[in-house]
């Protein structure tokens, strides 16, 4: 665990937290979905850096495409803006 890896993961964690806050506070639900996709993709990179490749591959494959698409279908069926 060298210091380089530590610095990289610290930066990524900070952005994950910012993404989570954006996800919660966005009025436009499309923006919330995009921010949660960012959180998931960065989380896959973090699992990879922490040397858990099995978890990382599952996270990347499920969260990358399927979850985003299902959320999008749901806001298409209901409505896009939160009041």
């Amino acid at each position: 665990m060298s210091s380089l890896i530590l610095v990289v993961s610290a930066i990524l964690v900070i952005f994950m937290i910012v993404g989570a806050v954006v996800t919660i506070h966005a009025r436009d639900l499309l923006v919330a979905i995009i921010a949660s996709a960012i959180v998931d993709l960065v989380l896959a990179v973090l699992f990879y850096i922490l040397q858990a490749p099995d978890v990382a591959i599952t996270q990347a494959s499920i969260m990358g495409g399927l979850t985003t698409a299902i959320f999008l279908v749901v806001i298409k069926k209901t409505e896009r803006y939160e009041q």
Binding site: V8, F15, L30, Y48, A60, G64, T68, L72
Partner: protein, 83 residues
Amino acid sequence: MSWVIAIAIIVLGVVLTLIRAMLGPTAADRMVAVDSMTTITTALLVLLALYFKRYIYLDIALVYAVLAFVATLAVARYMEGGL
């Protein structure tokens, strides 16, 4: 030492795209940033596989390369009203 510079440059790129994804005025801007972020991250994962000296870690980069654009396509189809 040569590792540190290459990885640092790429991580700086990821950070720039993530800042644009958090700032971006419209949802399209954010999605453009996320799309570029996934491609940059693929390159980062390939480099990190070399850093950890594990051949099998390339599979995760491959999953990223294959699946990350599904999310982009889904968001694009939602935005043009075809989902």
